[in-house]
């Protein structure tokens, strides 16, 4: 699936959803899309009438299934020339150039071990593709997600996550709020800690497959904690973004 010549394809925005005050999901119809694995990316290219073009890499949010669409969730980055267009400018029915899928490392391949997903902010996006893919195939591997967000309003896919925790057996979700918690939350806002990953992750003895995605500082902190807790560094896959602009 990943070893093919890449071509730019003209996708069409079939619909769009608001996920948070600053994030939007684009549902894209892509002709001859070859399918993708959860965790893979696409490159998106915007070209201005004068020929200036800008390109960014985005994680795919959706699992590949027979609906035949590819979903991207884009977090607006202030003054980001690509993300602001994708979140605020691009309208349903308009075209968008993309190529992919690409990347074969930060990918969940429906393997037997339990899985720990650790998300910082919009780092949830490729991890959500994994949760959705597991749901589609009714996977039995136990999945745990630890999701760090600034405030409850910043949580992406909140309704779907709640539904999947109820309906997808063996999926657990733990939230960490860094700036503001919901009313009545048992702990004050704060960063991801050793205690959180120790309590809500898997013991290293279970040899889980671990996927960590978020901003660089978050990824480094989470990976350091996991190694300190005894997880094999080779089982920890990371993806960092500098706030894709």
């Amino acid at each position: 699936m990943t070893n093919r010549r890449l071509v730019w394809r003209a996708a069409t925005v079939e619909s769009a959803r608001t996920e948070s005050p600053t994030a939007r999901t684009l549902v894209l119809r892509v002709p001859q899309w070859p399918g993708h694995l959860p965790g893979q990316h696409v490159d998106v290219r915007l070209t201005a009438p004068d020929g200036y073009s800008a390109q960014r890499s985005y994680s795919i949010a959706s699992a590949w299934n027979d609906t035949g669409v590819v979903e991207l969730t884009v977090q607006r980055v202030e003054e980001g020339e690509v993300s602001t267009y994708l979140t605020d400018g691009l309208e349903v029915g308009q075209p968008l150039e993309l190529r992919g899928p690409v990347g074969g490392w930060f990918v969940w391949r429906n393997e037997p071990p339990p899985v720990l997903l650790v998300a910082g902010g919009s780092g949830i996006v490729p991890l959500m593709a994994m949760i959705r893919a597991r749901g589609d195939v009714r996977g039995r591997q136990p999945f745990r997600l630890v999701y760090s967000a600034r405030t409850p309003q910043d949580v992406l896919y909140a309704t779907e996550l709640a539904r999947r925790v109820r309906d997808d057996p063996g999926l657990d979700v733990t939230f960490v709020y860094t700036r503001k918690t919901p009313e009545g939350w048992p702990t004050p806002p704060g960063r991801l800690t050793v205690a959180t990953l120790n309590t809500h992750g898997w013991p290293p003895d279970f040899a889980p497959d671990v996927f960590v995605c978020g901003p660089t500082s978050f990824v480094e902190t989470a990976a350091d904690i996991l190694v300190a807790l005894g997880h094999d560094p080779k089982k920890i896959r990371t993806e960092r973004f500098g706030g894709t602009s």
Binding site: T2, H41, S57, V102, G103, G104, W105, T238, R240
Partner: protein
């Protein structure tokens, strides 16, 4: 917009265009410190079309890739070797 720190995962498209296979799962051995790293774990500064990938161990530049309209420049002088997973010979 400059100085956005990413990692090798974000280079997948640019590298696949040049190599025609997924290079993010390859192991690049740093010419500076000798540490082998999966390309996906290299620290990358972008954005495309000019990408610089550094060793996560010592920060030396391992790989540079610049894509022009009709050519690509690939500078691998910071890598001792690039070990690519290949399908077994038939």
């Amino acid at each position: 917009m400059t100085g956005q720190e990413l990692d090798g995962n974000a280079m997948a498209g640019e590298l696949q265009e040049v190599f025609a296979v997924d290079v993010t799962t390859a192991v690049a051995t740093c010419g500076g410190c000798g540490e082998p790293s999966v390309v996906a774990r290299l620290r990358v500064w972008g954005p495309a079309p000019g990408l610089v990938a550094r060793c996560p161990g010592c920060d030396d530049v391992v790989l540079r890739l610049v894509r022009g309209p009709d050519r690509a420049w690939l500078d691998l002088r910071g890598a001792v070797s690039l070990q690519l997973p290949m399908p077994p010979a038939p």
